[in-house]
């Protein structure tokens, strides 16, 4: 199966559990299992190639310019990890089916699980390091969801947050490290990077890259001093802990160290940092683990300890160490997943994980007892189980490792770590399963159903099998080791076997086991001493650091960003002006290339009106009605300016938009206060004035500058002018650009316009659903009311004008391709015609006669425009290619028919719909309880015989 499918299957499969949720828990877990199984089998189909030593690749260019390609590769190392991820994943899915209770949302759980699985498989199969980083971050995010799956538990939420913070920060550091690495090599492909060991290690940036990448690996793999998040992540459901902390998430850091081993390892920095971090973690984790009373916490710290062991083995930088690391990764995954699942079984059945409340379970839960004991003995390093083999190899490797020039340091610490490791394994066996059967368990325990004990049992079979017959696993371990080493080393000849003779490692092993038994024998006094000793509490420290960081951020941000819009606007404007000033003063200013055009009296008069209206607006803006009139003058002058400067289309658009904008503002002002009170201090007004004047001067300077100079590069407009008629079949170049050359832009713009209108509609709905509704209904208008709500003259006039305006709109629309006009302008004109009906006869009368809802009109417009675009696919042209022809229907003139006209029709419909939906939404707020809506078009109608509605005089102007 293609590697793409193996990675994509879990991601796409993640959609299924949610959908199958209502089909029942078995269907939900079944579909998840099938998805994982498909990916697992797909992986196995690649086994022959991997065994033959080939590297399977799959590649799709994604962003080649950035060096980011979707490149996947499968070699021995990747196969090994993918096998663990998918294989143990399958067992976890079966186990989770039995573990999760009816109250847990199973679809949600399996969706997260599959997302996580896909991200993990993505990490181990990535060939491009940027792609690897993406999957790396995805594991941080999806593990956050998994750890915090029990959202109702505060520990779950805090643990998830801590895990995300620590691993996310490490991930950020790693991004920087990977980028440095890519810069050194000149490629982001692992296959290339792995060939450049000497180049990388000779680079002055090698140490920074190493530190940053190791930061990512150490945080992910919970190495000291970042080990503290892992125990807190134990608040997750046990299947999550078993999956994340045995075979997957925490192994991601190990995987990356192994992946980068050929190019990063071997230097003094590598050996010192990685080996010592691993050693400290191994010993520290093992010591803490003994004194944990929570079964899962004990296992969590034992995981930390074993990860430290693997890290140390990778840190030594020898080929034998690497082989031991690979073997221990395999062994740890098998026995630790089995142990976590056993802990989950005990928790599930006895309703407690507190070791002090357990004991004697071997009689009550014989199956679980056998599984957990075998796994724990393997972890303790007892022959003939697989844990013994890799521990021997570790001790052997430790014997040859010298750190800080002290010969005995590493071997001694390794024995201490192994000793405590054996001790907590014995504690787990003795204190949980041995001893007398108690009668005070929170719940009478017994062995669980098959779904829960079968998955760990399968793993324990592997534990025994690998331990008793290591020659079965050896070829595979060597294959993985050879792909880990790459060209940087030779696979060692040493064989994996139980009996090596009387070598030092055997004595060390015996010492560790005996020491472990002694520790357990003296557990009670030791535990009392441990509890009495002062210890730093990681969570408190973490919380303090987070609080300090948040406080610092707040102090930095608050002064400039306190939620005040005006302050932000002022700071933003000032910043833009300063940036512009900097550009202006450091750039080069060339002499003017265009002559200033003379200004006639008309132009001066228009300018004077515009400036006068704007300045007056500033002084009288407190009177809001007056301000509207003044801003209308400004808009009008802008329209006139467009006419003057050869832009008839713009003038028509601006003019019609002006009308609807003023109507909109009036509608809003209907509810808002009519005056703006004087509040600002003089100082504040001076500040705003300075910002405003500076901004005005800046735009003045900029526009004056470029108006007097020719463009730096020739504009593309020549093309539009030359091809408008030939290619687009229209003589109005602006319209041809809109509906043809840049039709895709226009298509996007009508969609934006439609979305804006729908947003306004939605806001209105939200307002009318809330407490505002009652206030609106009981509102007393604050303005003197019109005596005649729907004056006859106005009604008659708008009715007569309606067909004429529609005809004008139609005309403007049709001629748009060749003369000023088009869909935008026609749409605005028709909207104004309809708005006039609302104004004359009121909201309810008009909307009762409305045949089509405005949402539908917007949708139809977008659809018509889109369909026109799609139409060109049928003739094998790209989206929105237009065509035109000339037809003649006697007795009319020959006229042009272009497909662009249908597109313009879509624009027209979308504009009408959007404008009307916005204005209608505003008017809907204006309806009031005590004011019955008139069913008649006008209040006084001579042709009607019934009396006018009560209170018609003095009624408010309605529905405007």
């Amino acid at each position: 199966m293609s590697l793409f499918f193996i990675v994509a299957l879990p991601f796409f499969g993640a959609l299924l559990p949610g959908l199958m949720n209502s089909a029942g828990r078995s269907a939900c877990s079944g579909v998840t299992f099938v998805v994982s199984l498909a990916a697992f089998l797909g992986l196995l189909t690649n086994l022959p190639y991997v065994l033959a030593g080939e590297v399977v690749t799959a590649q799709v260019d994604w962003m080649p310019a950035l060096g980011l390609n979707f490149t996947l590769m499968l070699d021995g190392l990747g196969f090994f990890f993918a096998l663990l991820i998918l294989g143990i994943g399958l067992l976890i899915i079966i186990y989770a089916r039995g573990y999760l209770s009816r109250d847990d949302n199973m679809g949600e759980f399996f969706t997260y699980l599959l997302l996580f699985q896909g991200a993990m498989v993505g990490i181990v199969l990535s060939d491009n390091i940027l792609l690897l980083l993406i999957f790396w971050e995805l594991t941080s995010l999806s593990s956050f969801l998994l750890i915090g799956y029990w959202k109702h538990l505060p520990e779950g939420r805090q643990g998830a947050r801590m895990a995300l913070t620590v691993t996310g920060m490490g991930g950020l550091a790693m991004i920087a490290g990977m980028l440095i690495l890519g810069q050194i090599v000149g490629s982001y492909d692992l296959s290339v990077i792995l060939q450049n060991r000497d180049l990388i290690q000779a680079d002055p940036l090698y140490v920074s890259a190493l530190l940053l990448i190791l930061l990512g690996c150490f945080t992910k793999s919970a190495q000291f001093p970042f080990h503290f998040w892992l125990p807190h992540a134990m608040a997750a459901p046990t299947p999550v802990s078993a999956y994340l902390h045995s075979a997957t998430m925490v192994k991601a850091g190990i995987f990356l160290m192994a992946r980068m081993w050929p190019v990063l390892s071997g230097t003094p920095e590598w050996v010192m940092i990685v080996t010592s971090a691993g050693l400290i973690t191994m010993v520290l984790g093992a010591v803490i683990a003994i004194f944990k009373h929570d079964l899962k916490a004990l296992l969590a710290f034992s995981t930390v300890s074993h990860l430290g062991l693997i890290t140390m083995l990778l840190g030594t930088g020898t080929a034998f160490g690497a082989m031991a690391a690979v073997f221990h990764i395999l062994n740890h995954a098998t026995f630790k997943a089995a142990l976590f699942m056993s802990a989950g079984i005990i928790d599930h059945e006895a309703h407690t994980r507190d070791i002090r409340r357990l004991g004697g379970l071997r009689k009550l839960m014989p199956v679980t007892f056998v599984i957990a004991t075998l796994a724990a003995l393997s972890m303790a390093g007892i022959p003939p189980l697989n844990g013994f083999l890799s521990k021997e190899m570790m001790l052997e490797e430790a014997n040859h490792t010298v750190l800080f020039g002290i010969d005995w340091l590493v071997p001694a610490l390794a024995v201490v770590g192994a000793l405590f490791s054996a001790a907590y394994c014995f504690r787990l066996i003795f204190h949980v399963f041995f001893g007398p059967v108690r009668d005070d368990y929170p719940h009478k325990p017994h062995d669980p159903g098959k779904a829960m004990w079968l998955p760990p049992a399968i793993l324990v079979v592997l534990v025994v099998l690998i331990g008793a017959a290591p020659f079965l696993a050896e070829p595979f371990v060597k294959l993985v080791t050879s792909s880990l080493l790459g060209s940087a080393g030779e696979v060692p000849d040493a064989h994996i076997k139980i009996w090596h003779g009387l070598v030092p490692a055997l004595y060390m092993s015996i010492a560790a086991v005996v020491g472990g038994l002694l520790v357990i024998a003296a557990f009670k006094p030791l535990s009392r001493a441990w509890d009495a000793a002062p210890r730093p509490e990681a969570k408190v420290m973490f919380d303090a650091v987070v609080a300090a960081a948040a406080g610092l951020a707040q102090r930095l941000i608050q002064p400039s960003h306190d939620g005040s819009f005006t302050r932000s606007a002022a700071i933003g404007s000032a910043a833009i002006i300063v940036a512009g000033l900097h550009a202006w003063s450091t750039g080069t200013v060339e002499a003017a290339t265009r002559a200033m055009q003379p200004a006639g009296p008309v132009a001066i008069a228009g300018w004077a009106m515009l400036v006068a209206a704007t300045v007056a607006l500033l002084f009288v803006h407190r009177n809001r009605f007056m301000a509207l009139i003044l801003i209308g003058i400004v808009g009008l002058m802008v329209s006139v300016g467009f006419v003057f400067f050869s832009a008839p289309d713009l003038a028509m658009t601006q003019f019609t938009v002006e009308v609807v904008t003023i109507i909109l503002m009036l509608l809003a002002l209907n509810f808002l206060p009519k005056r703006t009170p004087v509040e600002s201090t003089t100082l504040r007004r001076v500040r705003d004035g300075v910002v405003a004047v500076a901004g005005g001067l800046a735009t003045f300077g900029l526009s004056y500058h470029f108006l007097l100079r020719d463009t730096v590069a020739a504009p593309i407009s020549e093309f539009h002018l030359a091809n408008s008629y030939k290619g687009g079949g229209g003589t109005n170049v602006v319209n041809v650009i809109l509906v043809d050359f840049r039709g895709f832009d226009t298509f996007g713009e009508i969609i934006v316009l439609g979305i804006a209108a729908l947003l306004i509609y939605a806001l209105t709905e939200a307002l009318l659903d809330g407490p505002v509704r009652a206030r609106l209904l009981n509102r007393t208008p604050d303005q003197p009311l019109a005596g005649d709500r729907h004056p006859m003259m106005m009604v008659v006039l708008t009715r007569v004008i309606m067909p004429i305006v529609l005809m004008v709109g139609f005309y403007i629309f049709l001629r748009g391709h060749n003369e000023p006009g088009g869909g935008f302008i026609a749409g605005l004109i028709v909207s104004i015609a309809v708005v006039m009906q609302y104004m004359a006869s009121g909201f309810s009368w008009t909307s009762a006669r409305l045949r089509y809802p405005y949402h539908g009109v917007i949708g139809a417009g977008v659809l018509v425009a889109g369909m026109t675009g799609i139409g060109s696919w049928f003739v094998g042209k790209p989206f929105l290619t237009s065509d035109y022809t000339y037809v003649r229907i006697p007795p009319f003139h020959e006229f042009e028919l272009a497909t662009a006209m249908f597109f313009d029709l879509g624009v027209f419909l979308a504009v009408v719909g959007a404008v009307m939906l916005s204005l209608e939404s505003f008017s809907r707020l204006a309806r009031r309880a005590h004011m019955p809506e008139s069913d008649y078009p006008m209040d006084i109608d001579p042709s009607r015989h019934d009396p006018p509605p009560d209170g018609a005089p003095g009624a408010a102007k309605e529905g405007v």
Binding site: S564, F565, T566, A569, R594, Q597, I604, W607, L610, V611, T614, V615, L617, L618, H621, A627, I631, G635, V638, G641, F645, S646, A647, L650, V657, T661, L664, A668, F671, L672, P673, K674, P677, S680, V691, A692, G695, L697, F700, G701, S703, L707, T711, L721, S724, V734, L738, T746, E749, L753, A756, A757, L763, T764, N818, E819, P820, V915, S921, L925
Partner: protein, 118 residues
């Protein structure tokens, strides 16, 4: 002519900025409208100023103004209407919900009654 055009842009920008920095929503609406004019006219000006040469192809005309900024500004005008309407709706909703048309959150003194209300 260029001086008049550029100064008009400057005056509208300055007026718009001043009004946007006011404390009540309605002047902010007005300020946004003024800034909209200024920006549209500014963009239009990037085609340089030409009088009497609209971009309508005909056999008599020999020179045309730059049509591209016009096309871009045309849609900009319509979209800025949509955006103004959204902003006004948000401001209106806030006023109807809290009976206060201040742009910024007010310090919670409780003593202040919004003026301009009847």
């Amino acid at each position: 002519m260029e001086l008049l055009f550029a100064s008009a842009i400057g005056v509208m920008t300055a007026g718009g900025l001043y009004l946007v920095l006011r404390q009540r929503t309605f002047p902010v609406f007005l300020g946004i409208s003024l800034l909209t004019y200024a920006v549209n006219v500014f963009l239009f000006g990037s085609g340089r100023l030409t009088t009497g040469a609209p971009p309508i192809l005909s056999d008599d005309a020999s020179t045309y103004t730059d049509p591209l900024p016009q096309a871009l500004v045309l849609t900009a005008i319509v979209i800025s209407f949509g955006m103004t309407a959204v902003v006004v709706m948000i401001g209106l909703g806030a006023f109807l919900g809290s009976d206060d048309d201040h742009v910024d959150d007010q310090p919670e003194t409780g003593a202040e009654t919004p003026e301009g209300r009847t």
